[in-house]
């Protein structure tokens, strides 16, 4: 063996030895529990929400988000003037334990974890949520370190993208003043983030975020939800309405 060949062989064997070991892929349950519980530190983020309507131009809005350990979040949609156009304070722990949320997702979807790439400079895991029929309904990108939900996409039954929520700028950890999240809880059933109660007619309560809407009605003594909600959100609305 020549000296050159020996050097080449040593170089080739050195590459895998120097490479970082791959992070073991976590289980979907472990990852989702971490996500539903929220990060262990405060954080501040800018989130972009995009809605893709078939045959029309996409629409988007920007949301300033701050969060505290335990699941409390404050969402603020900036207005055209200095005052915010919409402020919502959400306390995830007020509604349900992470295990309940996970059980709901399991009852509706098949879960699978894969490598998710980088979102807002954070490495992520991707969780695919498929209906029992096999149709991809949602995909979540979760921060590998903190468990924070970095990005979420929702798909229509035909597979086209309906909605994307993505953190585009993140400060984690961040010092958050708990006083900025002091707001009395909103009465009534749980609502997905960004939705507000817009009125009641014909025995149905209407909710909207300006582009997407849903209604909660009581039909034959039972609650029913219809509108632009994914199955897990609709199930959560129903469960909270029954309570």
């Amino acid at each position: 063996m020549t000296r050159f060949k020996l050097a080449a062989l040593l170089a080739l064997t050195a590459v895998p030895l120097q490479a970082k070991p791959r992070a073991p892929r976590p289980g979907a349950d472990e990852l989702l529990l971490k996500t539903l519980a929220g990060p262990a530190t405060g954080y501040a983020a800018v989130e972009r929400v995009q809605v893709f309507r078939s045959g029309r131009k996409p629409k988007a809005l920007k949301v300033n988000v701050v969060g505290l350990p335990g699941g409390r979040r404050r969402l603020e949609v900036p207005g055209k003037k200095k005052t915010p156009a919409l402020v919502q304070v959400r306390d995830a722990s007020q509604y349900e334990a992470p295990a309940l949320g996970l059980a709901r997702l399991h009852s509706i979807y098949e879960l699978a974890v894969s490598t998710g790439g980088v979102v807002a400079k954070r490495k992520t895991w991707k969780i695919s949520l498929r209906l029992k029929t096999g149709a991809l309904r949602r995909a979540l990108w979760v921060d590998r370190d903190s468990g924070l939900l970095m990005k979420r996409e929702t798909y229509r039954p035909d597979g086209t993208l309906a909605r994307r929520e993505r953190i585009v700028k993140l400060e984690l950890p961040a010092a958050i003043d708990p006083a900025s999240l002091q707001t009395p809880p909103v009465a009534g059933p749980w609502m997905p983030e960004g939705f507000v109660f817009t009125g009641e007619s014909g025995g149905a309560r209407h909710y909207s975020n300006g582009l997407e809407s849903y209604e909660l009605a009581r039909v034959g003594g039972k609650f029913a939800v219809s509108g632009d909600l994914a199955e897990d959100d609709a199930a959560r609305v129903l469960e909270s309405a029954v309570k």
């Binding site: 995009q50 809005l61 919409l86 585009v168 300006g210 809407s213 209604e215 509108g227």
Partner: protein
Amino acid sequence: MNENEDARLAKAAMKSLLVCAPESLTADLKRLARNRKPSHSIWDGLREALAGGAWAYGAGAAFAAAAIGIFILRAVPEREAATGVVQRPARIAAAPQALQDLWSDDDGEDNDEI
């Protein structure tokens, strides 16, 4: 001679009388018979049908149920005390303008903030 024979003879005599009678008398007799026939109104018909047997009861009940069903479906609108007939809510309720104004046109790109 019994009663049956009397009736048969009377009928035969009547027939021969009708044959021999002038046409005007025949027409008068027919008109007289028609006038003496009891009138047959729709209510009498209904009563007779209902009294006719079990199948008539069933048919009558089915007719009544169908009539009531059609009446309820078509004639009773959904009402609200103050405002009268209420439109059934559309699947997507119209969002208030202030909420719609939060959204702006987007390029649909999937990237971070620069």
